[in-house]
Each structure stands twice: as structure tokens, then as C-alpha cells.
């Protein structure tokens, strides 16, 4: 069953076709990846799916529902969560509160209950704090719950973003270059973390990376994007041996 179906999605930035007629499907429960050289339009694609920018044409169907015209926060409530290529954590909230923000957005007390500090509101907040701790434990960061994101090392900031995205209990998780800037050992750890998360929450993952190596252990299916267009799709073996993909990454071979 396909949890995400994208049909002929396109967007232009002043004459440049950043994403041009891209169609893809994401199967529920699996890990799908989008790879491609830098500037291929991968992040733009994520931005289209998560509602940051509106497409010029095309359709995005999530869990059977057309979400093309929805705004970012509406899409989040439909069950799609994401991380960002450049880490975007809330630096003036504690690490715990960063994770809690996703739960806050789904909490039910109203503003008058907040003003008065009623017990109902305090109970909800307490429960959400405990839930946030749970997500921090999953990514192995429970001991720094009260610290601030900007005092965390880079690798832990990435994990915090993951915890925050998970806290919204999404059906589909979009990870934009989640291992960018990590050294090889950290990349291994991250891959294991993603596997663990997928099993634990039975969640569908769509991930972006520009390194085929990173992606081929994890992915059940890979899409290759280049210059905003879909170049190839298939399993990691099929992609690895695809001459067009190789050419896109390496350029033409020199003729000696």
C-alpha cells in the first residue's frame, strides 16, 4: 500500500525548473530514499511535500488524501513530519522542550486554562514532558534533557531533530540529509538508529542523501533525481549499476 503518491510535481524558481514533473510513490512501512547530486532538487521536493512552497503543477496524495494545497502545519497534523538539512532547532527552548513542541501542537487545553494554570493543563504538560523524555531516551539523549540545543555537539543536534520529528507521532517521516556532516562512525550509528526507529514505531521513512553509500544499506527503494527530474528508480543494486546514474555523479569518463 502506498502511503505517499506524488504525481507530476513541478515548481519553478524564476525560470529554473527546480522540480520538473517528478512522480514517485512511497510504500507504507518501507524506507525509500531520494538521492542525487547537489542542486538536484531533493530538498525542494521535500519542501513541496511538506507544504513549505506550493507546486506550480502536480498532485500530492498522502494516505489517500490530496494534501497538495495544505499549509505546513496542516500537513504536520495529517501525519507527515520532517527534519531539515540545516539544523533548525529552537535555541531558546531546552532540548526536552524542543521535543515537547511537537506534542504541544497536539495538546488540548485552551488558552484560558493556560492563563489560570489549571490542574488539567498541568497534567497534560506533565504527561507531555514524560513522553518527550521517552523520545529522548530512544535517541540516547535523556541525560541532556535540560540543556540547550546550541551547546550540543553536531551529531547530537541531529539526533534531537529526529526525536522532535518522532514526537509528533507521524505516519511518514521525511529526513533531509540526516547524516550530513557526520563522520563515518557517526553515520553508522545513525543508520542503526533509523533502523531501530523504523521497527519501533512501524513508521514509513522517506530520506534524502547525496551519498549512495549511506543510503544503500537502509533503502528498500531508491529514486535518483538530477536537475529536478527523475533519472532512475529501483533497488540499490539496480541504481548502483545504472550507467546514467553513474554519469550524473561522476561526469563523463575521460577518453584517453
Amino acid at each position: 500500500m502506498n502511503i505517499l503518491e506524488v504525481e507530476n510535481l513541478s515548481v519553478n524558481f524564476g525560470g529554473v525548473k527546480a522540480v520538473n514533473n517528478v512522480s514517485l510513490t512511497v510504500e507504507k512501512g518501507k524506507i525509500t530514499s531520494i538521492i542525487g547530486p547537489n542542486g538536484a532538487g531533493k530538498t525542494t521536493f521535500f519542501n513541496l511535500v511538506s507544504g513549505v512552497i506550493p507546486p506550480v503543477s502536480g498532485k500530492i496524495i498522502f494516505d489517500g488524501e490530496d494534501i497538495t494545497k495544505l499549509s505546513q502545519y496542516e500537513i504536520s497534523h495529517k501525519g507527515i513530519s520532517r527534519t531539515f538539512q540545516n539544523i533548525r532547532l529552537f535555541n531558546q527552548l531546552s532540548n526536552l522542550q524542543n521535543v515537547q513542541s511537537a506534542l504541544d501542537a497536539r495538546a488540548h487545553y485552551n488558552i484560558f486554562e493556560a492563563f489560570l494554570g489549571l490542574p488539567g493543563k498541568r497534567k497534560v504538560d506533565k504527561e507531555n514532558r514524560e513522553k518527550s523524555m521517552y523520545y529522548l531516551e530512544i535517541v540516547g539523549m535523556a541525560d541532556v534533557a535540560d540543556g540547550r540545543p546550541n551547546s550540543l555537539p553536531y551529531g547530537m543536534q541531529r539526533r534531537l531533530e529526529l526525536a522532535r520529528a518522532l514526537a509528533s507521532n507521524p505516519k511518514l517521516l521525511l529526513l533531509d540529509e540526516p547524516a550530513a556532516g557526520l563522520n563515518p562512525a557517526e553515520v553508522e550509528e545513525f543508520i542503526e538508529l533509523i533502523e531501530k526507529v523504523r521497527k519501533l514505531f512501524d513508521i514509513t521513512i522517506l530520506l534524502i542523501d547525496h551519498r549512495l553509500k549511506v543510503v544503500h544499506t537502509l533503502s528498500d527503494k531508491i529514486y535518483v533525481l538530477n536537475f529536478g527530474e527523475l533519472l532512475a528508480q529501483g533497488t540499490s543494486e539496480e541504481i548502483r549499476d545504472n550507467p546514467e546514474v553513474i554519469r550524473a555523479y561522476m561526469g563523463e569518463e575521460d577518453k584517453e
Partner: protein
């Protein structure tokens, strides 16, 4: 054709607004924040120009030349104490805002402390007050302001599009990081941008002082320039020009039909309506942040 007369007056008014808007929008295009200290430069320059012409035998030309230079220097100084350190520390944009607003009030306050006890006014610089062209009259000061504004604006356009420093300024308004990598001395370009903005503000301040009243509240006129910038599209240089002229004409008609008292109400409602319909301004484009 009384309305044509209104139009002429409106354009003269608008040329001053354009001048304010240009100084304001130049800073916005390069540093991406609204410089609320611009009004302070205007009011200090207006009073300094008054002092200058008092000591130089009411000489209009020398006053203009000297205040042009003074505005540049004052603005450079303001940039140094207000924004230089913030820039080096890569501070949050909000701090620029607070810094500029604070400097703005401080400058206004300095003038208020020194000058509020007596009434000051510029003398009549020209022998004839009005010139008649057919059915229409235009005051000589209006004509002077229009003329000087045109010259200054043309000079600014030439600077921005035909000189290397102009190219550097325009490049900086598009992408700070790349400009730095190209070996451009960003601090210098910013200092020069502020100096140009300061000169424009000084001239505008003197015009306001001549045409309206010389009071410490003169800094409030910067708001007209801000509205004009919005109309033209924030950060857009030619937009500031058109926005100023359009605002001048609109306000002149508003004063005629609604009275000077209610004009701020009209300006506010017009601004809101305009922003709903066309937030990017007449010629501007909306720039999205890179995600």
C-alpha cells in the same frame, strides 16, 4: 484643472519622500533591516544646516553642500557605534532593530534638549517665493527640492549601476557571503552605503525643515519614507523612487479632500489595503529564505 496643481504639489512633496525612502531602502537592501535611526539623521542634519546657514550668511548652496557631507559623516559614525559590532558578532536581526530605534530616539532627544525652548525657522532663501507657469504656481523652494532631488537621484542611479562601488552595493544586497568570498571589503561597502544613505537623509531633513517647520519632531517624517519604501517594495531602489512620488501625490490629494488632520488615518488605511493586495510593492519581488 485644479487637480493638476495638486499633482504638481504632490510630486514636489513626493520628491522629498523619495529622498527619504531612498536613504532608508538603501540600508534595508544591504543589511536587511529597517533603519529606524534614519529619522535621527534627518533631524540632526536639519538643525546643523540651520546653524551652518546662520554662520554663512544664509547661503543656500553652501548649506546644501556642507550638510550633504555632514550627513555622510554622521551616518558613518552612527553605523559604527550602532551596527558594526553587531555585524561582527553576527547578531540576531532583532538587535539591529533595537539598536537603530534607540539611536533614533537618542538623536531626536539631543536636538530636543538643545533646541526645544525657542522657535527656529529657516530664512527665506530666495527672493521670489513663487513662480507661475501658465495657470500653475510652484513655490521656488518646491522647485529647488524637485531639482535637487532629481539630480541626486540620477547621481545615485549612475553610482549604483555604473561604478564598481555601486556594483558592490547591489551585489551585497543580493548575497553577503558570496560577495565576501569575492574579496570585497564588506565593511567598507557597508560604511559607504551608510554614508550615501546619510547624505540623502541630511538633504531630506533640510527639505523638511524648509518646507514644514524646524522642530525636534522632524524625525517623524522618516515614516513617510518608510511607507514609500513599502509601496515601492522594500529594498528596491527604483521602487523607493516611485513609492515616494506616489505617496506624495496621494497625500496631497488626501490633505485637500480630508484635511491635514485626518491624513495619517488615510495613510494607515491605504498602507494596510495596499499590503493586503500587493505585499511585494510596485516593483519588488518577494525573496524567500533558503530552507
Amino acid at each position: 484643472m485644479y487637480y493638476l496643481q495638486l499633482l504638481i504639489n504632490g510630486l514636489a512633496l513626493g520628491s522629498v519622500y523619495s529622498m527619504i525612502a531612498l536613504g532608508f531602502t538603501l540600508i534595508y537592501s544591504v543589511l536587511k533591516f529597517s533603519n529606524f535611526s534614519h529619522g535621527g539623521i534627518m533631524v540632526i542634519s536639519a538643525y546643523v544646516a540651520y546653524e551652518i546657514q546662520l554662520r554663512l550668511g544664509h547661503n543656500f548652496t553652501w548649506m546644501m553642500i556642507l550638510i550633504f557631507i555632514f550627513g555622510a559623516l554622521l551616518s558613518c559614525f552612527v553605523q559604527y557605534i550602532g551596527f558594526e559590532r553587531l555585524r561582527r558578532q553576527k547578531s540576531n536581526i532583532m538587535l539591529y532593530f533595537v539598536s537603530s530605534a534607540t539611536l533614533g530616539i537618542m538623536m531626536q532627544n539631543i536636538i530636543a534638549i538643545k533646541y526645544s525652548s525657542f522657535f527656529y525657522a529657516y530664512p527665506a532663501f530666495f527672493k521670489t517665493s513663487f513662480i507661475s507657469i501658465g495657470q500653475f504656481t510652484i513655490s521656488v523652494t518646491d522647485l529647488m527640492m524637485l531639482g535637487i532631488s532629481i539630480v541626486v537621484i540620477i547621481a545615485l542611479m549612475l553610482l549604483l549601476y555604473k561604478t564598481r562601488i555601486g556594483i558592490a552595493i547591489r551585489a551585497l544586497s543580493m548575497d553577503t557571503q558570496t560577495v565576501q568570498l569575492m574579496g570585497v571589503n564588506v565593511s567598507l561597502v557597508i560604511a559607504i552605503t551608510f554614508m550615501i544613505s546619510g547624505s540623502l537623509g541630511a538633504l531630506a531633513g533640510v527639505f523638511c525643515g524648509i518646507n514644514y517647520v524646524l522642530t525636534p519632531q522632524l524625525n517623524a517624517y522618516v515614516f513617510k519614507g518608510m511607507v514609500a519604501s513599502i509601496l515601492g517594495g522594500m529594498g528596491n531602489i527604483s521602487g523607493a523612487l516611485y513609492g515616494g512620488l506616489i505617496l506624495g501625490v496621494l497625500e496631497d490629494f488626501a490633505i485637500h479632500f480630508l484635511g491635514a488632520g485626518y491624513t495619517p488615518v488615510f495613510t494607515f488605511l491605504f498602507m494596510v489595503a495596499f499590503l493586503i493586495v500587493r505585499p511585494q510593492g510596485i516593483s519588488g519581488k518577494i525573496v524567500l529564505d533558503k530552507v
